[in-house]
Amino acid sequence: MAWMSALAGVEAWTVAMILVTAGFYLGALLATGAVLFRMAFPDLPDPERRAASRTGAIAAWAAIALALVQWPLQAGYLGGGNGASAIDPMLLGMVFEGAQGTRLILAVTGLLLVQAILLDARRLPGLGYGLSLAGVLLVMLAFVQVGHTAGEPRLLLAGLLIVHLLAAAFWVASLAPLYRLAGHPPEGADAARILARFGRVAMAGVGLLVLAGVVLAWWLLGGITPLLTTGYGQFLIGKVLIVALLLLLAAANKWRLVPAFERGEPRAPGRLRRSIALEGALVATILLLTAVLTTVSSPANG
């Protein structure tokens, strides 16, 4: 199997790069998604609002730290995967001068700005939202600096990826608040309005994800055969299988958990929380596989 040979030569250095990259993806999506979640739900209860902002800020700092660790890891990788190369000024300079350096600057600046949403608590909601939204856009621009969305037609490809990532970030960041809400089912008209709004925003998010994802795939895939014959394609199939697990989870929720909720069964909230936690675990797996794809594949070995 091509995917096994793609992994066969992977050394400890590469494993470290994969883990740091996956952590960066998660942190950046959580941090930017927290801003989107807050803006989509300005009428969240205070504890939920504070929790979302706090989670976003922690995720932003984690992503900044991981982005900074990526730099010497990348230099070390280029020099053959060793510590001496990681601090080689020539290699560090080469990484920084290129697309990876631009990505680093945009990502760190954006992740710092994202935290302006905390200003909301200081009674500066307008300023906080404006700065944090600018931060979200900078982080999204960081993502399109590296990879084939940096190719032509750049505006279309980068735009599609940004739409796709915004929707994904919103979804990833909503898991934790939903987990909390499932554990403490809210009551009253406010909670009902929030949940109804959540359903509408979620539907719009799914639409954007579908549209951007399908067009991107159609534009960039270029064939079915590489999916089957290359390690790259086989990792992709692995990700689709995880998606199938998520679909099973969705079906189980729809036919079993949700009716249980409607009947007000006492065990339903706990089961829903476990279901959301499992979704989070599957997301982590998907991000890890994404990092493997972007780190170990190459034209020859797929």
């Binding site: 809210p186 949940l195 795939a217 960039l220 829903l272 959301i276 599957l282 070995n301």
Partner: protein, 123 residues
């Protein structure tokens, strides 16, 4: 209301994951056009030059050739400026045996790449 949000959430989760997966090919890389000698080739006598060619400019940061006597000493390395053709020459004629080339580089789109090829030298 909570039940509806649960449906939306799980559906959204599944679709988002599906699309993350589908969108991944955008992270494919610069094309590698070929190597000299070709991967898996058997050549008669020591090759005069060893190298690789790319579709786009690549900054090669590591290019090692190893054979039956260990690492091969190379001359005329082109440096690591962006190039579509990277070729080196063995400092001395290669004795018969199996050789492996490992290289790493930074593609124009920011991706770090690592690959290699093998060839055999016959007397």
């Amino acid at each position: 209301m909570q039940t509806k949000s649960t449906i939306h959430n799980t559906t959204r989760a599944a679709l988002a994951a599906l699309l993350l997966a589908v969108a991944m090919p955008l992270l494919a890389h610069e094309g590698e056009l070929g190597s000299t000698p070709e991967d898996g080739a058997t050549v008669q006598g020591s090759p005069e030059k060893i190298g690789i060619e790319f579709e786009g400019a690549m900054r090669i940061t590591q290019f090692d050739v190893s054979g039956p006597d260990g690492r091969v000493r190379l001359t005329n390395p082109p440096g690591n400026d962006p190039t579509e053709r990277y070729f080196v020459e063995p400092a001395e004629p290669l004795p018969a045996g199996d050789y492996q080339v490992r290289w790493r580089g930074l593609a124009r789109d920011g991706h770090m790449m690592s690959d290699g090829f093998r060839f055999t030298v016959e007397d």
